[in-house]
Symmetry: C2
Subunit: 196 residues, 2 copies
Amino acid sequence: MRPQDNGGIGIRPVNFCSNCGNKVVTRIPSGDDKPRFVCDDCGTIHYRNPLMVIGAIPEWGDKILLCKRAIEPRLGFWTLPAGFMELGESTGQAALRETLEEANARIELTGLYTMLSVPHVNQVHIFYRARLLDLDFGPGMESLEVALFAENEIPWDELAFRTVTTTLKHYYADRRQKPFPVHTGEVHAPPRPSKS
Amino acid sequence: MRPQDNGGIGIRPVNFCSNCGNKVVTRIPSGDDKPRFVCDDCGTIHYRNPLMVIGAIPEWGDKILLCKRAIEPRLGFWTLPAGFMELGESTGQAALRETLEEANARIELTGLYTMLSVPHVNQVHIFYRARLLDLDFGPGMESLEVALFAENEIPWDELAFRTVTTTLKHYYADRRQKPFPVHTGEVHAPPRPSKS
């Protein structure tokens, strides 16, 4: 997962029109009911929308593959291979590509598994179950280390993202009673520390 | 579904930096492997990513609710209520909101149903099964007409989008043998007419 649009913390404001370069204004366009960034020079409406992060749970026997992050955010923490979906690809292709990029690992997808909305950072995280095809893997540019973990070896306190934790908790609960259902849900911002 | 980013036909190019207004260049940023729109003045990288379209299959007994589109693309064709996911919401909230906006209808989601990638227009279409809560519905701003259809009344030749057709074909096949599994897949551009 590469930092993107402010490192995944949020979506950047639009100051200038990416089409003609003039200053934009914020107003509700005709036929709409929400404020948008609008260019009154060329008429372009600059919509902003949530981004998809797509990943996989690569299985090898009773172990799964995790990557230790070499980049911010959450440098040094462990994650399932995942990243921002690119133009021109399908969700499945994104999962294969990210696993290849981050872990140099080849997988075969075995089913959609979790779709978790993270509204406070405007993202939806989607994970597939997958079969690791061989043991010829190793860290890509964005990983410090790639390794297989049995359930009792998962570094729960060193996982990079709550959607990864949620996905793995579902995974180990479901694995005891196959088949795997699809889980959907939301992950919200943690409560701010009280000022009192 | 509101027209967005070129009416859903594709993703607009970036000519100017939306942060500082200077001209952008296209190059592969350090640590990346794909060409991006980059501002060499303020350093902003302008990533472009696929968009999510979220919708629902609102059920009332053995009928489902469809909307006749009042806007392009596909004006006058029938669709399931659906539209672009907005910032700050979850996929489920997007399905409820779009159904309210396009059909003035209140629904309760009963499960994720289809997730269909449409790579040639850089979209992922996601549909939930849903229960219509009452019959107090009617066309919103983007609909000409809203109506309930039994299976033998579905206007198959007048459906607006192939992801709607795919979703409804799965739906009627699955309905004969509940429970409903989740379907994922891809919808590609139709082949171009041969020049010979």
